[in-house]
């Protein structure tokens, strides 16, 4: 584990988190991408640098650990899928509302208003006939 990689991981996570906490879906998406890169580096940092893990090309003693690589490879491609999906979401949100901001959930807001007014939900519509 080297300090340089650790710092890179830390910065990617920090920047990714800040973007993730935004309301703009595009920014959230970029945050997810940064977090993905950070996570990949974090897993990579578990192995020491070395020769490519290809039998016959390098001495097994000098190879880097191949297992983190396999995991990262999977993660990279999953991040691609995730990105595509979030993009589609952002685009759809733009189509529907004219912007790509995440709005507060309407149902949750309704509950919050009920709480502010000190009322019950009447969710149990079976409650005493009114």
């Amino acid at each position: 584990m080297s300090v340089s990689l650790l710092v890179a991981v830390g910065v990617l996570f920090a920047a990714g988190t800040v973007l993730l906490l935004e309301r703009t879906l595009t920014r959230v998406l970029l945050g997810v991408m940064l977090l993905g890169n950070g996570a990949n580096l974090l897993v990579l940092a578990a192995s020491r640098a070395g020769a490519p893990p290809i039998v016959g090309v390098a001495d097994p003693e000098r190879m880097t650990d191949p297992l983190p690589q396999a995991m990262i490879l999977t993660a990279i491609v999953i991040t691609l899928g995730m990105t595509a999906f979030l993009l589609a979401l952002a685009y759809r949100s733009w189509l529907l509302t004219g912007h790509d901001e995440v709005q507060d959930d309407a149902e949750d807001r309704r509950v919050r208003e009920l709480a502010d007014r000190d009322e019950g939900s009447d969710a149990e519509a079976l409650e005493a006939p009114r």
Partner: protein, 936 residues
């Protein structure tokens, strides 16, 4: 066994009802009737079968005197009520099949409850009866009071059941087993026993509608009358009494504080219930409600007598259980007949049914005599026995006796009100009550029940002998049951009770409506819970995504942070860098990430994030991971293209940034998360103790995996399941993207090549098949030429990467991405027509084919006798090509390749071509693709 028969019958019931109408009930009645037949021949028995051995659960059943008695009642009354149902319901009644199924299932659950030897098994049946009774009470389910009553019964009895479960678990865990016998043999003592006893009593009392839980039973009278007759007279409410009777011998024998608490609660609450219930019954005008309050009152009596815990009261109590089941079920059924014939149960509107239906009177009177405790019915024998037993039980017994006598006076009074209200001839308040006479077939069941009550009275001595083994579980000796004990105090009391009751009946005016049913406490609890839920939800579920995420991240910081500090390794060799060449990409990456955060323009931010990705790829390469580097480069490129495809439609700048303090909070959380993650990473690596599992891989991959590229062999062989899951995710993602963009199932065909380009003009050189469809201003011959030259080369490269990936960097993922890029280039150069020309297939078909190949390879290994996804190495000699080395897992990689290509194609078709179409529509002046229709 017979339980299984109930289950089968319940499953078949809807079919039978559809086929035979209400007559199916006669057939269904044979099942509980068979139970009676079995019980007559088997007075005791045991049977067990392991169920969940890991939890020590077994399907253990046993029959002793008490449970035998209840088996008889449950089966006998069940059969008779089913027969009654056969003529009670009109053919074609809605929901009759469901009703029949639930009712039969309920009878089975009730049977299971009383014969379970294992307390947990009993609990399962207990809750089954609760749920099924909910369905039965709410059978019509249309009007609100009906549903409300069902829900109320469900909530009260379930809450009690849960309390009981805790009590049972306390006892069972102490005893090391959940059999009745085990629990009795190793009963707890001390305060914990008291706690367990109280909890179990809560369960029993709530089920039997004893004060303070009594309010649910009268409300549950919304149920159809046969349900009331069965559930609320013979079966479900008896479950609580059964539990009290079952535990009484143990607890009373244990003595100490627990026994005192038990007696005070069971007897005290029982008496209160008896008096309150009887008093309420006296004022009811609805005959069914009158019976319901009477039932509450009787259940209080049973609880008190059985909870009292001497041999005498035990015997008297079980005798009363028999009596109550017989007369109450009969009377409920009689009310059902009246209701059906007269169209009302209101005794103010009923007039002179006694004269019109003498048969009905003949059935009702003996049953009512049993209820009032008049000879020769079993109720008289039982009540006399109660009086006698309490007389023998010292001062406490006499106190209780006073309560029971007072309750009995009420019982006589409301019985008189019932008979008078139902049958007496008096001026009618309303002429509309004239209706047809009682249907003879409906009378069979109540008649049998009432006759049984009288027969049991005459045979009281025999009944007593049969039931006496239960009483032997207590100290002291029990008097025998008898119809005629000769003159004595009990007889005097009986006479007094009857006289007092009749006097009381005279004093209560006919038309007075009674006090309202209770249950205000229940309502208060329910609304309170609702309010609490609203407050808690309002406080925590703010509806804001950033708020939730921040909360989650703060929890991460608060939990992982301190743990990290506490576990910080003292001295580990820390290197500044892996290789000095790392430093440059790392520096670039850091700068790009930091500047991406405050960027105001979308494109700037996207490019900066892309830079971190490319820098990552360089780090991978320098680290010794060429596969990763290759994949990362390609993914980053595809991602950039995708993002730009969407961004062209979105506004250029981000919307207004939030206020400064919010930004500071975000940055603060971000820095904390970054620090924690870096620290956790360091900690995790330094904490490593075991040798990496991958150390043996270099020796294994060539002989077993048939490849030299260890990463690829891991992906397609060693950890192929992971890859399988991953490609499945990709397929799901592609489908999700398509459905988000195409918006309507009808348009999903556009994932395929829908536009075919028109023939190119002949007078210019053709570089791309659809080049001419691009607007002149956007066309670039240069791009077209390069695309034309590169496309097939790139495709070839992708196939090469796929096929050699097993030995050199590459594989299905990289190959697929390269092919996807080739398609992207075609799309960018020539638009959506060009894409259709380049890939004349449906993206969904490519995805499906890929998944099929991947799964097929995995399953193929299974067919050939290996494990799923196991690979085999084939060395073939092919003419001309020489030795060909084929590994089956390459086929799996082909599946991966196809899926990745499909994903990219799908993205291009949706985020590219379809978005193009939206844009074209917007330019053409159509309202941006009909927002209203989207929102529907």
């Amino acid at each position: 066994m017979l339980l299984g028969a109930h289950l089968v019958a319940a499953v078949l019931a809807p079919v039978l009802v559809r086929w035979a109408g209400p007559r199916a009930f006669y057939l269904l009645a044979t099942v509980p009737a068979a139970v009676v037949g079995w019980a007559v021949t088997h007075r005791s028995g045991q049977w067990s079968q392991p169920w969940v051995p890991g939890l020590g659960l077994s399907l253990a059943f046993r029959v002793d005197t008490l449970s035998w008695l209840l088996v008889l009642l449950v089966g006998g009354v069940g059969a008779l009520v089913l027969v009654y149902c056969g003529s009670y319901f009109a053919p074609g009644t809605e929901g009759l099949g469901r009703f029949a199924a639930v009712f039969t299932g309920f009878a089975g659950a009730m049977l299971g409850l009383v014969v379970s030897d294992d307390l947990l098994l009993m609990y399962v049946f207990w809750e089954s009866t609760t749920v099924l009774s909910y369905l039965l009470i709410g059978h019509t389910g249309v009007d609100r009071p009906n549903r409300r009553a069902a829900l109320q019964a469900l909530i009260v009895t379930t809450a009690g059941g849960l309390a009981m479960l805790v009590g049972l678990v306390i006892l069972g865990e102490h005893a090391g087993g959940y059999r009745w016998s085990q629990v009795a043999a190793a009963l707890l003592d001390g305060p914990l026993l008291t706690v367990a006893v109280v909890l179990i009593l809560v369960g029993a009392l709530s089920k039997s509608a004893v004060f303070p839980f009594s309010f649910w039973l009268p409300a549950a009278m919304a149920a159809p009358t046969p349900v009331s007759a069965y559930l609320h007279a013979a079966a479900m409410v008896k479950a609580g009494v059964f539990l009290v009777a079952g535990f009484a011998p143990m607890v009373v024998a244990a003595g100490g504080a627990a026994a005192t608490v038990w007696r005070v609660s069971a007897v005290g609450l029982g008496l209160v219930t008896m008096l309150v219930g009887g008093w309420m019954a006296l004022f009811q005008n609805d005959l069914k409600l009158l019976l319901a309050y009477g039932t509450v009152s009787q259940l209080g009596l049973l609880t008190a007598v059985l909870g009292f815990g001497t041999a005498g009261t035990a015997l008297a109590g079980v005798a009363m259980v028999v009596a109550h089941a017989l007369f109450k079920a009969a009377l409920f059924l009689v009310v059902g007949v009246i209701d059906k014939a007269a169209g009302t149960r209101d005794l103010r509107r009923l007039d002179g049914w006694g004269r019109r239906a003498p048969l009905l009177v003949a059935v009702a009177v003996p049953a009512a005599m049993s209820m009032a405790g008049l000879p020769p019915a079993i109720g008289f024998a039982g009540k006399e026995a109660v009086f006698a037993a309490l007389l023998d039980a010292g001062v406490v017994g006499r106190l209780v006796l006073a309560g029971v006598v007072a309750g009995s006076v009420l019982t006589v009074a409301y019985t008189a009100r019932f008979l008078w209200g139902a049958f007496a001839g008096r001026p009618a308040a309303d002429d509309a009550t004239v209706a047809a006479g009682a249907d003879g077939s409906l009378l069979v069941a109540p008649a049998v029940l009432a006759a049984a009550g009288v027969a049991a009275g005459f045979g009281a001595q025999g009944v007593g002998r049969v039931l006496s083994p239960y009483a032997d579980g207590f100290r002291g000796s029990a008097d025998h049951l008898a119809l005629w004990h000769g003159p004595g105090v009990p007889l005097v009391l009986s006479v007094l009770v009857v006289a007092g009751g009749l006097l009381l009946f005279r004093l209560v005016p006919a038309g007075r409506s009674g006090p309202r049913p209770g249950g205000r406490g229940y309502e208060r609890v329910m609304t309170g819970t609702d309010r609490l839920a609203v407050e808690v939800t309002g406080a925590t579920q703010r509806g804001s995504l950033p708020f939730y995420l921040a909360l989650i991240l703060l929890v991460l910081i608060a939990t992982a942070g301190p743990a990290m500090v506490a576990g910080w390794p003292g001295s580990t060799a820390v290197r500044l860098w892996e290789t000095p060449s790392h430093l440059l990409p790392v520096a670039v990456l850091i700068v790009a990430a930091v500047f991406a955060v405050p960027a105001r323009r979308r494109l700037t931010a996207v490019i900066l994030v892309g830079v971190t990705g490319y820098a990552n790829a360089v780090v991978f390469l320098l680290h010794g991971a060429p596969d990763l580097a290759l994949t990362q480069f390609l993914v980053e490129t595809v991602t950039l293209v995708m993002v730009v495809l969407v961004l062209r439609r979105l506004p250029g700048h981000f919307s207004q940034r939030p206020g400064a303090w919010r930004r500071r909070i975000r940055v603060g959380i971000g820095v904390a998360v970054g620090t924690v993650m870096a620290g956790v990473g360091h900690l995790a690596v330094s904490a490593r103790q075991a040798a990496p599992v991958s150390q043996a891989y270099p020796e294994l991959v060539v002989p077993w995996g048939g490849g030299h590229n260890i990463v690829n062999v891991i992906l397609v062989d060693i950890r192929a399941w992971d890859t399988m899951g991953e490609v499945a995710v990709l397929v799901a993602v592609a489908t999700g993207v398509a459905s988000l963009i195409f918006r309507r199932a009808g348009r999903l065909h556009r994932r395929g090549p829908v536009e075919t380009p028109s023939d190119p003009p002949r007078d210019e050189p053709v570089w791309l098949m659809a080049g001419h469809t691009v607007e002149a201003g956007r066309r670039s011959t240069m791009v077209e030429v390069v695309t034309r030259l590169l496309f097939h080369v790139i495709l070839l490269l992708s196939v090469y990467l796929l096929l050699t990936g097993h030995d050199t960097p590459g594989g299905g993922f990289t190959g697929g991405l390269v092919a996807g890029l080739a398609l992207t280039v075609r799309y960018l150069a020539g638009g959506r027509y060009e894409l259709a020309a380049a890939a004349p297939v449906d993206a969904g078909a490519v995805l499906g084919a890929g998944l099929l190949v991947a799964v097929g390879t995995g399953a193929g290994a299974l067919v050939l006798g290996g494990q799923v996804l196991q690979s085999a190495v084939l060395d073939l000699h092919v003419p001309l090509l020489g030795e060909v080395h084929v590994v089956t897992s390459t086929l799996f990689d082909v599946g991966v390749y196809l899926i990745v290509v499909g994903l990219v194609l799908d993205v291009l078709r949706s985020l590219g071509a379809e978005v193009d179409r939206h844009a074209a529509a917007a330019v053409a002046g159509e309202p941006a693709p009909a927002r209203k229709e989207e929102l529907v």
